[in-house]
């Protein structure tokens, strides 16, 4: 497991060796100036992608399953999505009611 992160005061000359691995990885993997090297490794290679996914990409599905979708950084989007879901359910229910009513009409 990744060790808990320690916050450092500006007095420190540079981040101690105990800097959080996730913080280091997100910087050394694809930050800095990218220049074409002789030994090409595509950072989207599947294994690396797996690592990065595991580390950095918050799966909305996973979060939703865990019941923590309320923090999403795009409230406008996610609220709309939530409202859309309700509206969709609503319209499905209306359709069903209509169908049932039609059925009853026909049965008479």
């Amino acid at each position: 497991m990744i060790e808990p992160l320690v916050a450092h005061e500006p007095a420190d000359a540079c981040p101690p060796r105990a800097a959080n691995l996730a913080d280091i990885l997100e910087r050394v993997l694809d930050k800095g100036i990218v220049i074409a090297g002789d030994i090409k490794i595509n950072l989207l290679d599947i294994e690396l992608l797996t690592i990065r996914l595991r580390l950095f990409i918050s799966s909305v599905d996973t979060a939703k399953k865990a019941g923590i979708d309320w923090w999403e950084t795009e409230p406008a989007l996610s609220s709309r999505a939530a409202r859309d879901a309700l509206a969709e359910e609503n319209s499905r229910l209306r359709d069903r009611v209509e169908a049932l009513e039609r059925q009853r009409e026909e049965e008479r």
């Binding site: 990885l25 910087r27 993997l29 100036i33 002789d38 030994i39």
Partner: protein, 277 residues
């Protein structure tokens, strides 16, 4: 065994820069970490066993967590030491050349970008700020869509009302957190020369209990580091608007996130905030 060697590049600085490189280990099993002149620039490089840096070997190393950590920390240690001694621009972990001439050529070709970046970061450090939402008590449970509490009656309308209520409560919490995050970001930008939004780390890394709601980097003049720290301290004391948040400050870092012009990578558009104010 003296096999073929490749040249691993860590960072680029001004040729006149004089970062003390003695004692830096770089890649275990590589040669001494040293300076390679390329016109007005100097690259901090190391000869490494070519066999360990073929694309296949490298993929293997970077796919193994322990090995990835060794590579990443070795890179970071050298970059941090060079950046602590003067303006320096990091290059990514997998920047490798067949020999010194090829490395020199690549850096010379990219010289304008390096020089612009060195100018941008001179006298400045990168600081990382991460904000976590510490979920309100019971917030997770009601958001999880558990069974309706007893006594809500059995009518469909009551049930739908309950769902709507929960949804509204969730949205309110989300909006409060979002507003707090924007306020924190604005306060920190005021101390910074530049700012970037990074990807927020997922729950695998942070734990589902404390989702990360902001992961940002700020480029701050060294003369203003204390001001940044004071601002963070004030923000910690001032999350009085009811959003329980934890703010973490890390740094100083080498200016990893500010090496490239802000070209709005999709990953940095979280919350639509990236870029300049």
């Amino acid at each position: 065994m003296t096999g073929a060697h490749s040249v691993r590049v860590f960072a680029v600085c001004h040729a006149a820069g004089a970062a003390p490189l003695a004692g830096l280990r770089g890649h275990a099993g590589g040669g001494a970490v040293r300076r390679l002149r390329a016109g007005a620039l100097a690259a901090v490089v190391q000869a490494v066993p070519a066999a360990e840096f073929t694309p296949e070997a490298l993929r293997g190393h970077l796919s193994d967590r322990a090995s990835l950590e060794r590579f990443a920390r070795a890179h970071h240690e050298v970059v941090a030491a060079v950046a602590a001694a003067g303006p320096a621009v990091p290059v990514p972990l997998t920047t490798l050349y067949a020999d010194e001439d090829r490395a020199r050529q690549a850096i010379t070709e990219a010289a304008p970008r390096f020089l612009a970046a060195l100018k941008r970061v001179a006298g400045r450090d990168e600081w990382g700020v991460k904000v976590f939402a510490t979920a309100p008590a019971g917030g997770g449970a009601e958001a999880a869509g558990g069974p309706p509490p007893a006594g809500t009656g059995r009518s469909g309308r009551a049930y739908l009302d309950l769902l709507r209520e929960r949804q509204r409560a969730r949205e309110t919490r989300r909006d409060t957190v979002h507003a707090e995050v924007e306020r924190i970001d604005a306060a920190l930008r005021a101390c910074a020369a530049d700012a970037r939004r990074l990807r927020t780390h997922g729950p695998d890394l942070t734990g589902a209990q404390h989702p990360q709601v902001l992961n940002a980097a700020y480029l701050v003049d060294r003369s203003r580091s204390a001001e940044l720290a004071a601002t963070v301290a004030a923000l910690r004391g001032g999350t009085e608007r009811g959003a329980p948040l934890r703010i973490e400050l890390t740094g100083p870092w080498a200016p990893y996130s500010f090496a490239e012009e802000d070209e709005q990578r999709p990953a940095e558009r979280a919350g639509g905030g990236g870029g300049r104010p």
